[in-house]
Each structure stands twice: as C-alpha cells, then as structure tokens.
Amino acid sequence: MSETVVTEPGGPSPRPTGVEGFVGDWSSDQRAFKNVPWGKAMMWIFLVSDTFIFSIFLLSYMTVRSSTTVAWPHPSEVFALSFGGEPIPLILIAIMTFILITSSGTMVLAVNYGYRKDRFRTAVLLLATAAFGAAFVGMQAFEWTKLIVEEGVRPWTNPMGAAQFGSTFFMITGFHGFHVSIGVLFLIILARKVWRGDYDRGQRGFFTSRKGNYEIIETMGLYWHFVDLVWVFIFAFFYLW
C-alpha cells in the first residue's frame, strides 16, 4: 500500500490505508478509486462483468455434466495426442497452458517497461505477447479441427458419451478463444502505437492518452491477464475435472 501514497513536502497529508482508507475513499466526494486512472477502473469493471459471463458458462457446464445420466467423455483421453508413440494425455492443453502463462509474463514485463518509458522493449514485449496469443489460438484451431473432423464431435452429439460435452466445450473454449483473438488484435495495435512513440508525443487518436503516459499498457495488461485467469479455471474444471 505504501507505494501508492505519495507525499509531497507541504502538500496534503497522505491518505489513510487499510479499512480506514477504504471507508474514507468510498465516503469521499468526486471519486472512489483515488489513485486509479478512469480507463483502468473501467477495465476492472468490465472484467467483473466478464467474470460473470464465464462463471455462468462454467456453471451451466457443471449443471449439465452433473445432471446427465449418460457417461461423460474422459477429457484426458479425448485430448490426448501421440507423437509417433503412445498417446500422451492432455499434452496439447498443457502446452497451451504454458504458452498462455509465458505470454502473461511478457505482458507484465511490457507494462513495467512502459512505465519506464522504454519504447523499444515495450513494443517488442507486446509483440511477443501477441505472438504467444496467436500461437495459442492456432493450437486451439488445431484442437477444434481434430475434434470435429477426426472424432466427430458436434455441439449436439459426440461418439464418446454425453451430448452436452460438445455443446459446453465449443461454447466455453470458443468464447475464451474469441477473447484471446481480440486481445491479440489490440496488442498489435498498441505495439504499433508504442513503436511510433504516440504515447511520448501525446498524439491524438484511438486509444491514446496524455503525453508521456503509458497507463494504457497496464489496462491492456489487465485484460490479457484476465484471459489467462479464465484459462486457469477452464483448465481446472473442463480439462482436469
């Protein structure tokens, strides 16, 4: 907490922290989120609403899976992949998980270098994050193709067991993959802007900010980490359960 309270000599006294600060912030005038830029606050609120969307997807999945009388397919076997030898269970999903975590790491570094105003490193790290994200979507496309073409899984039926497996799988991973794709798109847009130095010059335009202000990278980072966060839950509940 101490990092966020900046005191200046002769300036106002620092805001209280802890519960006292919480009550003070919420009962104060003008704004409740004192040291948070509005873009970041709005991103957090969007992420809360997105949390509910994914929660409802996973809840419906839980409901149909525990109410069906037909055997549920074993994700461990359905998503196994063999590289010439014995099929390794869930290996593609594990690789996708590691790719997404790696991209989260490059994203957090991009945020950090953005605040240091290191334009070159920020742009490169944003592009690296986008590349990992694109790799993730590519592997998901491969997974879908394999399931649809080779295994014959459809949203309304599948040869392995309960029909609800297909509908929940395509719905949940599809919506998550859509989030990743949109994230990749915006990462590329932001990388281009950082590379050109839009944020140093305070250039006017779409998704720009005040001069020398790189907080949009952190807002982008929040979205990207959220996508990784959702995957943690999908991985646990859909693939491992």
Partner: protein, 111 residues
C-alpha cells in the same frame, strides 16, 4: 493534471517479483498437469485441482494484475461481487442433483 500527486508513476515494481511469480505459475501448472498424468483420482484429485487453480488465480490477480498494491476501495469493489457466484453454484448444484434423480426415475429405460 489533478492526479499528479497520486498516480504519476503508476504501478512500478522491481522486475524480480514478476520473474518469481512467473516461475511459480509454471511450477503450479506442471503440478496440476501431473494430477492428470499420474491418474490421481477421487477426492484427492478434486482437492489438488482446486488448490492449484486457486493458487494460480491468486498469484495472477495479486501480482500480475497489481491487486496487492491497489487501495482497498478498488480491491473490495472488484473481488467481492464474484464471490456471490458461489451461492449460484450451490443453487445449481442442488438443482442438477434433482434433475439427475428425476431422470434416473423417469427415463431409466431410455438411457
């Protein structure tokens, strides 16, 4: 710039903590994959999955999304509403149990 005194530097922290958390996320992901790979079954499996999942989610939100450095006003506003999902989960869990029972009673021959 009215906010100069509050957030001019934004969320800036030493790189070391990010690398540490990054490594932990890899370790935890490997652990949750091993749960499946080693065929751990039953309650132990579900417990381990939940533990690793919550640990990963917690690290991502706290450090990567900087929640541990935010003021409590934001932290409570963002993190408390999703907790209510647990109530919905309990409702749907009981509802699906009821559906399952009625299906086994009335469609026993069909399946």
């Amino acid at each position: 710039m009215a906010e100069t005194d509050t957030h001019v530097e934004g969320q800036q922290h030493p790189l070391g903590i990010y690398f540490k958390i990054w490594a932990w996320l890899f370790v935890l992901s490997t652990c949750s994959y091993m749960v499946d790979y080693l065929h751990v079954q039953g309650y132990l499996r579900w417990t381990l999955i939940i533990i690793f999942m919550l640990a990963k989610a917690g690290l991502i939100v706290a450090v990567f999304m900087h929640m541990m450095w935010e003021r409590l006003a934001l932290l409570y506003a963002i993190l408390t509403p999703p907790v209510l999902v647990l109530i919905f989960t309990a409702l749907m869990s009981s509802e699906s149990g009821y559906t399952f029972v009625t299906r086994t009673i009335f469609f026993a021959t069909a399946s």
